[in-house]
């Protein structure tokens, strides 16, 4: 007698049992992992979150990472100061505007490509990893101003989460200040890399790219101007399209550019007329000081959440997005709007650069390829549309909310 199927009953039972056991094992393992994440057992990420928000780790006792990189403001400043004040008395000024740390872990290492330098952390790319980058603000005299690593670790060892720190890194971690410092930097780096708060990709534009929502007409016009190589040409440095494997656009190509941003007198250091912040070639960064063609170049930042910023460019010279956009299109057609004018009427263009580096300024790429008397690449109405589009890059958009205009 031939069976209709080839499965012997005993084989079936064995197969089902094996499948059930496998399922049980996987489920148990999965639950164990979920338990570990939910149960509150400390991890480097959870420690990093606590350290990031802990003002007691500063000389003043009042400055944490989160003070200037406020999670509620796209991990950037909430005030409109061009530079922040740190140090033990919160009275030592910085020299550059606070960058947003949103999406920071997606920045590649610093290197030189076909088109020049790219990548790196800080506005001049001098830190190659998040661990290296976090060292400076903790010890810098115009930021959290810890006098030394031992000083910092001493403060860390008396925080409410010091026991959790020991749990993760070892009971005697505080006996070795350098080791504890490494662990602290590692925690911060892991937090910025793994915590989903740093990479939400939930702006209106992200929903549009997923086909979930349609942009409003003004926003669509703004996108067209953003992409158009003869109008805004913004996408040339701030790409707006998905990557080859469907990755969401970062709105920066991580390269460097010199826009000739006007000197900002709000920065106390600029009171010294011989002081120039030259970005890639110094003064904060010293390894490229002989590459004269790089002087004045700063990293292209992401435009995600740009509409939430209060200050723009490396020196916080502009305090509104509109003004920053206007600078792009009218820098060369109406320079008198942005630069000091001498008594004889000449405009001191590119005054934040020593004379020998003024020729480094980018004057060839649209939209800042104009000459005096020529019309700007974008009219006022077009600039408004562009700004409306840039507002769609703000995280925290809810596509299911009633769309009564944005």
């Amino acid at each position: 007698m031939r069976r209709s199927s080839g499965w012997h009953p005993r084989l079936v039972v064995a197969a089902v049992a094996a499948a059930a056991l496998t399922l049980a094992f996987v489920a148990a393992r999965g639950l164990a992992i979920a338990d570990a994440l939910d149960s509150g057992a400390p991890t480097p990420v959870s420690l990093g979150e606590k350290i990031f928000a802990d003002a007691s780790l500063s000389a003043s006792g009042k400055m944490a990472c989160a003070t200037c990189h406020d999670p509620a403001h796209a991990h950037a400043q909430s005030n409109d100061l061009s530079v922040q004040y740190g140090g033990a008395g919160l009275d030592v000024p910085g020299t550059r505007a606070v960058p947003s740390l949103q999406y920071v872990s997606l920045i590649p290492r610093f290197g030189f490509g076909d088109d020049g330098p790219f990548g790196g952390f800080d506005r001049d790319g001098r830190a190659n990893t998040l661990i290296i980058q976090a060292m400076r603000p903790l010890l810098s005299s115009n930021e959290m101003a810890n006098a030394s690593i031992e000083d910092l670790i001493q403060r860390l060892s008396v925080t409410p989460y010091a026991d959790e720190f020991r749990q993760v890194y070892g009971a005697d971690i505080f006996a070795d200040p350098n080791g504890a410092f490494q662990a602290l930097l590692f925690s911060l780096s892991q937090y910025q890399t793994l915590d989903p708060d740093f990479r939400p990709f939930n702006s209106k534009y992200d929903s549009f790219l997923r086909g979930e929502v349609m942009l409003a007409p003004a926003e669509l016009r703004g996108l067209a101007l953003f992409n158009n190589p003869q109008k805004g040409n913004c996408a040339a440095c701030h790409p707006s399209h998905r990557g080859p494997n469907g990755e969401p656009p970062m709105f920066t190509d991580f390269t460097y550019d010199n826009l000739g941003v006007p000197r900002n007198d709000e920065i106390p250091a600029n009171a010294d007329p011989t002081y120039y912040d030259l970005g890639l070639c110094g003064p904060a960064r010293t390894d490229l000081e002989n590459q004269a063609d790089l002087c004045g170049q700063f990293k292209v930042p992401t435009l995600r959440n740009v509409a939430t910023r209060h200050v723009f460019f490396h020196n916080g010279r502009f305090h509104s997005l509109h003004d920053a956009l206007q600078f792009y299109v009218q820098r060369d057609t109406n320079p008198e709007l942005f630069y000091p004018v001498a008594e004889d009427g000449t405009v001191l263009k590119f005054d934040d650069l020593p004379p020998q580096y003024r020729r480094n300024v980018n004057t060839e790429e649209v939209p800042y390829d104009r000459h005096p008397g020529e019309a700007p690449r974008l009219s006022d109405a077009e600039l408004e549309d562009l700004e409306t589009f840039l507002n769609t890059l703000t995280d925290g958009y809810d596509p299911t909310a009633t769309p009564a205009g944005n």
């Binding site: 549009f208 790219l209 942009l215 669509l220 067209a224 101007l225 996408a235 399209h241 080859p244």
Partner: protein, 467 residues
């Protein structure tokens, strides 16, 4: 390779002197043939055949001489009181059949070696092009357009492997502009008298040029625009196909292959405007293969000198790319062609049209970019050549061709003011001549006039070979 032994089995007897001489001579000839055997495997097939014929002739002559000597030698021992031992006399006649057997075996071995040597063939073609834009002499360029090497190997009389490898623009490296690629790599087997099957990376049988793109096979220095911008010659996909023909001259070809990947479309570059399908083809390079394509092509060649046919290729191009806004986009390419060669004339015409569907949502994210995805693109040409002059193996064939093509004839609608207008249809007139040196070498010259982009008007010279 046969084992060569210095044979002592030949009974070089102490018989009559001429008999001994004949046997020695035959032995020498055989020894020479044995020593020649290894090098025969490396010689040209024609030479091999000549060698075999020559050896056969020699052996036959030797046989005749032996026979003659045997019939004479048989009488000799009875005439003389020969002290020669009888084994010598009896050994000689016994040796002849053994010798003949050796000779037959040798013939077979040599023949087998010759067959082996012809089972694998190498082929190659190359082209060099010089082009001089008449309005921009600074754009004059000379380029080794392509160098191709390939092989065809027959496993048996109905199975073969075929490979074709190409280098474009002479130098390939991270800093250079050349490309090196595998153009074809497949195995074909004759399944029965009428049908063959192919598996591997092979050319799609659409158009007149895609499958027959060697420099001696087309007129003009550069391949025509319709069959580069619309049909992306040389267009190859990976998959399986069946091909066959009927006695009445109807040839058909069906296949299931990889297709295009629309997620490769770059709206910021000009590539999609130069060739829509060329910018999204995968060439079996880590190809996304979730959506396969199918094609069907047919040609009627029953009347001598006439080829008429066409085909269609269709497949989805979304390929399951993550978060892609055109997941159901379908690429379809139709073409029809005819070629008639009455006497010294060579007339041809072709029409091809491609479409990409479901691009509206994707193009919305490309507003403002110079190259959104087109909905349709097409091309057509008419061409006439005249093999006007021949002398020995030189011949001259002047020709003229007129082509129309549009790589972005229409787009899906986008909100007003944000779209890109459809391209104008480019028209190119080409006149020139091919000068053939034998069937395998060609020198070419032509002049091309563009209707829309007149900056591209140019005068070209070319050289190509093919074997």
């Amino acid at each position: 390779m046969p084992v060569v032994r210095r044979n002592t089995r030949f009974a070089v007897s102490r018989g009559p002197r001429f008999h001994r001489f004949a046997c020695t001579g035959l032995a020498a000839a055989l020894a020479a043939a044995f020593s020649l055997a290894p090098s025969l495997a490396l010689a040209d097939e024609a030479e091999l055949r000549a060698e075999i014929a020559d050896l056969r002739k020699q052996i036959d002559e030797m046989k005749e001489q032996m026979k003659a000597m045997m019939s004479q030698g048989k009488a000799a021992p009875s005439a003389a009181a020969a002290p020669s031992p009888s084994p010598a006399g009896t050994a000689a006649p016994a040796a002849t059949p053994a010798l003949a057997e050796r000779v037959d075996k040798l013939e077979q071995q040599v023949s087998a070696q010759a067959d082996e040597a012809s089972a694998t063939k190498l082929f190659s073609y190359g082209e060099i092009a010089y082009s001089h834009p008449t309005h921009d002499s600074g754009g004059t360029q000379a380029d080794l357009a392509r160098a191709v090497l390939g092989f065809a190997h027959s496993f048996d009389d109905r199975t073969r492997a075929y490979g074709e490898f190409e280098w474009e623009h002479a130098v390939t490296s991270a800093d250079d502009q050349g490309e090196s690629e595998v153009e074809q790599l497949y195995v074909e087997r004759q399944l029965n008298d009428r049908v063959a099957g192919r598996i591997g990376l092979f050319l799609i049988p659409l158009g007149l040029l895609n499958e027959h793109h060697e420099p001696t096979q087309y007129y003009g220095v550069f391949r025509n625009f319709v069959e580069t911008a619309i049909i992306p010659t040389t267009w190859r996909e990976g998959g399986v196909s069946l091909l066959g023909g009927t006695e009445s001259g109807f040839n058909w070809n069906l296949g299931v292959t990889t297709g295009f990947d629309l997620s490769k479309w770059d709206p910021t570059s000009n590539e999609g405007r130069e060739s829509p399908l060329g910018s999204i083809h995968q060439e079996l390079q880590l190809a996304r293969a979730r959506d396969l394509s199918v094609y069907a092509a047919a040609n009627y060649q029953g009347i001598p000198g006439l080829t008429a046919g066409g085909g269609v290729f269709t497949g989805k191009a979304g390929q399951g790319a993550p978060n892609f806004l055109a997941p159901d986009a379908r690429v379809t390419l139709w073409e029809g062609h005819a070629r008639w060669q009455p006497g010294p004339f060579d007339l041809s015409a072709l029409y091809a049209r491609g479409t990409i569907s479901d691009t509206q949502a994707l193009n919305l994210t490309f507003v403002g970019d110079p190259t959104p995805v087109p909905k349709s693109f097409w091309g057509a040409y008419v061409q006439g050549a005249w093999h006007a002059w021949a002398y020995k193996d030189y011949s001259l064939a002047p020709f003229a061709r007129y082509e129309w093509f549009n790589t972005a004839a229409s787009y899906e609608p986008v909100p007003e003011g944000l779209g890109v207008p459809p391209s104008p249809t480019e028209r190119v007139g080409t006149i020139g001549a091919n000068f053939y040196i034998g069937p395998n070498i060609v020198l070419k010259a032509d002049y091309q006039k563009f209707h829309v982009d007149t900056a591209r008007d140019r005068f070209d010279l070319g050289f190509g070979y093919n074997f």
